[in-house]
Structure formats: C-alpha cells, structure tokens
Symmetry: C2
Subunit: 343 residues, 2 copies
C-alpha cells in the first residue's frame, strides 16, 4: 500500500494526500478527514525510505553504546531504564530510537563513519565519553548533530549532559570527614573515561577543604566492574596502614568490594566506611547497605530526549549547544560509621 494506491482509491492526487497526512495547510477540512479515514482503514503508513530520501531526514535518533565492556557485564540496568524513559519522550515527539551497539573490540571511529555516511539517523547520543574523545572530533567534522552523556575536554559543537561526579565525590568526602575520617581512599576507573577526572577533582577539593594532605597511595585505579571492585577491596584491605574510608565512583564495583572484604575478614562500616556512587536495586542485597547517591533515571532519560531533539530545532535559540550537570542526592547507609577507636 503506497500513497498512489491510497490517492487512486480516493480519486484525488497524491500531492493532496501527502499534504493531508502531514498536516500541511491548504487542504479542505472535508478532504482532510476523508484522507485520514481512508489511511487508517487501509492501514497506510508512509514508507520510511521514500520519506527520508526526499526529506533528507529520518526521524530517528541513534543511541551509541559500547558493548562487550566489563561495565555492562556487571548487570547494570542503568541504560535500560534511561533508554526507556528517553524512548517514551521521543515517541511522543514522533521520533524513533535505535540503539547502535559498538563492540569494544571494534574501532569506534570506523563504526561511526558508517553510521554517519549511511544517513540512518538525524542525531546521535554518545555514551562512555572519554576525556579526549576522537569520536567527538570526527562527529564535529561531519555535520551530524550529536550530544554526549558525559563531558569531554575535546572541543566541538555539541550539547552534553553529565552527572555531577565532582559534587558527589566532594560530598562523599564531607560525609566521611564529618564522622572523623582522615585517611580516605578512592577507587577510580583505569581508563580515560571522563567521569574519573571529575570524581578525582571533587575528591581533591573535598580533601583540601578539610585540610587533609593527599596521599597518592590511596588513589587506586581499577576496571569499572565487579572484578575490578574485588581487586580494589583486596588492595585496600591488604594495606599496611589501612584507610578508614573508601569512596567509589561506580556502584558496580561495590559488590566486588564487599566480596573482597568478606574474604579478608574486613567488615564494611565497622572497619572501613564505604560510600558508593549511584543507588541501585542491587544494593538491597549488600550488607551493610552502602551509603550512596540517588539519581532519577526517568528524569535523566527524558532530559536526554529533550536535549537531543533541541539540536534539531530550526529555532537558533533552542538548538544552541549547551551543557547540563545533573545533581544527585545523598542517601545515608549503614556502611558509614565513625572510624574505630584504634585507628
């Protein structure tokens, strides 16, 4: 069923049918109604290839995720919930969402080249943003509008939304300092992902505010995964001069840290206080419940949808590129206790 068959069936021209279906002005109300009625009756839906060929736009947003990455192996439901909320918003605006999985073994630049050249999406949302991100330079050269989840230091004409890693780290330091901790370790990612830099900056700022000297041996880099958390827990618990608090920039490492502590006979909270990053249903099953930060994933997903569609607006003021930092709220937990008298 194409538009010509529909037009013939109504004995009018395809031009009029198209105008009616697209709510273009200058079509008689009576005709409009007839067309709409016939379209639903005959189950007509515009062919996407024909439409986007003519319009040069596909009404589709691409969401680029890295797969095969340890963080995803960890059973992280983060993207599922965010994508769902984003998809909901986009569907309201008559946009489709496709998820473009780039395997971590692939060359992300080549992957993007294909996506760009094939013209399958009108705009992209990038994730796993790096501090120096070659994909951003590449996208900036192409004319494809895009935004990133996570800041980058690579310049380019794009919008971004980032979680307030710096604020979370700073607040985490404040919370443990308030309880009397002075020897505070931190687990950071072992790659160039941007959040690591912001988390570290907040950590350093918090220490400085409390007048605590930086001890480089307490800054530990591990993969963002359960295994990485396990390694982190082993390292921290095995230190000659054990820290009394441990801050985590990712919640997926928390389970690993707890497991390592269990093996090493270290009790979270009593021996070493823990502040995790994002609150997560998984944490129901960690004992004692880790202190963490709450993030509204639905709101984040909707905001992503709004931001990416803004890029496509003809209104210059709306489509202006901008950055946004999403705050998180502190959630106390049993894993947070004053340091033991002995320490």
């Amino acid at each position: 069923m194409n538009i010509r068959r529909l037009a013939d069936h109504l004995n009018i021209s395809i031009g009029t049918v198209s105008r009616a279906l697209n709510n273009r002005p200058g079509v008689h109300p009576e005709t409009l109604e007839k067309v709409l009625k016939a379209a639903t009756e005959l189950g007509y839906v515009a062919n996407q290839s024909g439409r986007s060929l003519r319009r040069g736009a596909t009404n589709t947003i691409g969401f680029v995720i890295e797969t095969g990455h340890p963080a995803h192996q960890a059973g992280d439901q983060f993207f599922y919930v965010v994508l769902d909320a984003m998809n909901l918003y986009l569907a309201e605006q008559r946009y489709d969402l496709v998820i473009l999985p780039c395997h971590s073994a692939d060359d992300p630049v080549e992957f993007l080249s294909r996506v760009i050249a094939r013209g399958i999406v009108d705009a992209l949302v990038m994730t796993a943003t790096r501090r120096i991100d070659h994909r951003i330079a590449q996208l900036a050269k192409s004319k494809l509008p895009f935004m990133t989840l996570g800041r980058s230091e690579t310049p380019g004409n794009y919008s971004w939304i980032d979680l307030d890693f710096e604020g979370v780290a700073r607040r985490s330091v404040q919370e443990v300092v308030k309880l009397g901790h002075r020897r505070i370790a931190v687990g950071l990612p072992d790659n160039d992902v941007a959040l690591g830099y912001h988390y570290k900056a907040g950590y350093l700022k918090g220490l400085a505010e409390a007048g605590i000297a930086v001890d480089e041996s307490l800054i530990i880099r591990v993969p963002t995964s359960e295994m990485g958390g396990f390694s982190l827990g082993k390292q921290v618990a095995g230190m000659a001069e054990q820290p009394t608090a441990l801050l985590l920039c990712s919640e997926v490492t928390a389970a690993g840290v707890y497991a390592a502590f269990g093996e090493m006979g270290v009790e979270a909270g009593r021996d070493i206080s823990i502040v995790a990053f994002r609150e997560n249903p998984l944490m129901r099953f960690l004992n004692p419940a880790p202190a963490c930060f709450r993030l509204d994933l639905d709101a984040l997903g909707t905001r992503l949808g709004e931001t990416v569609l803004d890029l496509l607006s003809p209104d210059e003021e709306v489509s202006r590129r901008r950055g946004e930092i999403v705050p998180l709220s502190f959630v106390p937990g049993k894993s947070l206790q004053p340091p033991r008298a002995g320490s």
Copy 2:
C-alpha cells in the same frame, strides 16, 4: 557525496559506478579498481534511504525487547551479552542491528504495526514470547520474516530458539531427589510467558519419574524480579510444612529469595536447598553459591544471528522455518545439600 558526484569525478556513468561498488559482473577490472579507490578516497558510502527504496530491503535486523518490565529492572545483563554476540555476527554479514524497545505500557500490536509498515527492517527477532502471543499472529499476516526467542503455541510461519527450560527443571528435580529431597517447591512466573509452562512440564515430569505426588501448594507464582523472589522466599520459609528444596525458573529471583531467607532465619542449603536457573556473575555474591545451569550466551547470540539471516536466504532449504532448543549444563553449588535429619 552521492553516486553522481563520484561518477562525474571519474568521468564514467553512475550505472558503472554502482555495478562496481556492488560487485556486479561485467565491469572491467581496471575500472573496478579505479572506482573502489575513488570511493574510499572521497569517503563515499551509499545512502541507505536511496538504496533501500530501490531495493526494497534495508539490510537491517530489528530486535524487539520489552522495556519497563520488572525483569529488566533487576540488572539482568542477559540481553547485553546476547545482543553483542549477535551484532558481531550480523556485522560480518554486512547487516545492521537495531534494538526496538517496546515499553510494557504500550500496546505491542500497535508498536509492531508501525515497525512493519515503516519498512525499517528486513526481519525481526522477538523476545519475551508468550504462550499465546498476539504479535505472532500479526507478524504472520504481514509478510515480514521473523523469529522468536522462546517458543509459543501460537501457530505461524516462523523460526524459534528456546532454552531448554523443561530439561533444566527435570534435571533440577533429579538432582535434589538424588540427595533425598521429596518435598520440592517451584517458583514460576505469574504471567503467560512461555517458559513458565515448559519449566512446569519438566518439574512435573521429574516428580513423576521419582514417584512423587504433586502438591499444588508447592507451585508458587511470583513476578520474575528480585521483589518477586523476595515474596517467594517469604512464602516458602513461612510454610507450616516447609519444603526442603526450591527450584527457580529464573536467576533474577535468586537474590530476593536469599534476602527473604536471611530475614526469616532460614539458611539456604542447610534448611532449604536451592537450584537457580542460569548461572550469572551476580551469583558470586550469593552465599552459599546456588546450584544453577550454564548457558553460553555468545553462542546463543551467534545462533540468533544465523537463524534470522537464514530467514532471508533465497535458498528454500536454508530459509525453511525451524525450531531449536538450546541445552544448559548443570553447575553444582553449595546451596544443594541433603535434607536435614529432622525433616
């Protein structure tokens, strides 16, 4: 950069360029080389809309998932790993994969109508298959090839791949019977999802083989989620005549069961033996480690890719619709012990 510009740059016709790029016969080797060289130099990639409009095929496979569903909230990495392997295979065959998220609040039939009519994919992979699945009837009517992950009783011309839920349940019964258990409870999903029926069938078959009468009060239906598992654990632990073994048709409920047992003072293994479904990295953090079944997710993903592309083969023998059951292998765990002397 379109094909005309490329042709003009080479001073040959667009027809020849297209033939060269698509490896069609009848183009001079020298010309072929020139075209390929110029294409890479100028970064030419065929526009997808133009190509699929002409060819009537998009070289894209759609993967339909339900989002907003409690099972996904549970931090299940199942789809991530499977999708990744599938994507890898499809990319080798020059096919793209798009994930089509259907929100559980949406009408899945309407969602599919749009997908079908817009002609955005050449074939579909469906998940969360129901025993009676209206989507299958709908897809069968449309001419869009599709396959399902999970069997359905709804007839239609399609291929399917299913995990061996029946075999797993039967084996689970055998394992606990071998240890002396006679009072065996089972947790089933509370909706019409097909796997529940097969798991129950295997459970009943196992009981029959062991000569154990069916006790309907031991067949408990809960949502497939951590909360559902929690409820299941509470119910089982609170029974007047406690069962000595509990079989789970889904691993996401396991954590909830453990948590409920902890609250009720029931010790997994010693008081009630547990057999979970699929082995899962999360289980590293459950104590005692649950007995479960191992599934090669990579192999499953590749197999899905092969099966869905087979649907599109011009070779009738290859494209013949077929079903396939994937076996899982038993993994012993500390959660499996003989019943206590008292029972």
